[in-house]
Point group: C2
Chain length 274, copies 2
């Protein structure tokens, strides 16, 4: 639902001056795949909180150059910083979670080996797989116009995930929870949130979502012992790839993050004009 | 996230007595695809608000029979009845909306031809396509343990969708909305909702979601003229196939529907025992 300019995350340090130059895969993408021409505009980001609107002055398959038209403040990252501890599930489902979770506003993904994680033979999580996952969240962040790319950590076992998650407030989505609604859980962990938008008061919540067969009862008991709050996602059973993005959307909604955004020119970051 | 019994919607009228018999596609599915055996259990539903737990007494590829063990009250349908007017989008995206929207709790889908709907050559919506869509929502309802299958109406043009939607309270998700948050929109339309769960007070809301390129400004103006409330889905731009399910989840959350469910035996609908 957008008809905006194409957006690209570029390595830190490339932006800041009045001109930019891109090479490699991004030059190929711009010149050959998107077939942009001299005079066309695009947006470059480096995760610094600003975005650079650029007019192309040179387009070749190996190198693209342009002039910075203006610098704007990026859409703010959620003040509520969500880490999704997502059980490893079938490959396309896991990639759906990364894509939809990025759109919705998750800040960090931690893949988790759970007792019931379905592991396909030879389906190991190697550096190439992590690289593929990072490309998926980068493209999703470009598409949804986020100013930063969410982080993806290497996979950990459930007990390690629990140690990380239980260091702060954390909720575990459990289809057999009979008492506590998600709203009750969220309100318990968000109770001390600041009422003013203030980046110094960023809050973090961990969200734990199980594999296709659910968390085992041993895992749920261990989570509760560690202080993680089990919550129900409501009267219908969500698929594992639906649960994480929906849970994140509801958490951000409850925290007041789902509000409209209006673009502003950056005061202090305007480039020097040639 | 479930490890429950297999569930099947069957035609109305088949359930009610102490024994059941299935033929055709469902007998094939149970005997050959799922390879269930005599003595295995499954759940049958007919959308009446009860579900029948059945123990198989006979399993052949052409006919399956079983005895009703108990009858339970189905998970309740949302008191807030959501109709999603979803712009026609690329085929797999539309099917994602149907599947995820059913899980989340949408009651009715209306496919809408919008100005920017991408129509593939030959990609007409015929009876076969509608049948495929109904199979997708039926399977999703079985999987998420809903007691009813959402309705899918035949596609209509945007102006017709607007007439239907504007007959009641309706929200249109608009990525260029700068003023009204989803929460403000929901609270405006839910303001008169009853505080007690009471089926006689079912409320209906229409939700309008545009195609990949968004609604046109003419469509947005027409919707506003008709009394539809435009809302922002927050600072990040959701893909068209993410917007509907997320919007529905947030509406049900705001309406208080996302609460745990506990199974009960039906008092009045217990089958006569042989």
């Amino acid at each position: 639902m957008s008809a905006g300019l194409h957006r690209f995350f570029v390595p830190p340090g490339l932006l800041g001056g009045p001109r930019i130059a891109l090479t490699g895969e991004q030059a190929h993408q711009i010149s050959r795949v998107l077939r942009l021409k001299v005079g066309d505009r695009l947006v470059l980001l480096d995760g610094s909180g600003h975005e650079y609107r650029v007019r192309l002055s040179e387009v070749r398959s190996s190198a693209v150059a342009g002039d910075v038209d203006d610098v704007r403040v990026s859409r703010p990252e959620p003040r509520l910083h969500l880490t999704l501890y997502q059980a490893l599930v079938l490959r396309d489902r896991f990639e759906t979670v990364l894509q939809k979770g990025t759109e919705v506003g998750i800040s960090r993904f931690v893949p988790v080996w759970c007792e019931r994680s379905v592991v396909l033979r030879g389906d190991q999580i190697d550096a190439k797989r992590l690289e593929r996952w990072r490309r998926i969240v980068t493209e999703a962040a470009e598409q949804c116009e986020r100013g930063q790319v969410p982080e993806i950590l290497p996979p950990v076992r459930f007990t390690e995930a629990l140690m990380q998650a239980a260091a702060g407030p954390a909720l575990l989505a459990w289809e057999r929870e009979r008492e506590r609604s998600l709203q009750a859980g969220l309100r318990a962990v968000l109770v001390q949130r600041p009422t003013e938008r203030d980046d110094r008061n960023t809050e973090s919540i961990g969200l734990l979502v199980g594999p296709e067969g659910g968390f085992s009862s041993i895992e749920v008991a261990a989570a509760r012992d560690a202080g993680v709050i089990t919550v129900s996602l409501g009267p219908r059973i969500l698929r594992t790839e639906t649960a994480g993005p929906v849970l994140a959307a509801l958490a951000l909604y409850e925290a007041g993050d789902m509000v409209p955004f209006v673009h502003q020119l950056a005061d202090s970051a305007a480039p020097e004009r040639a």
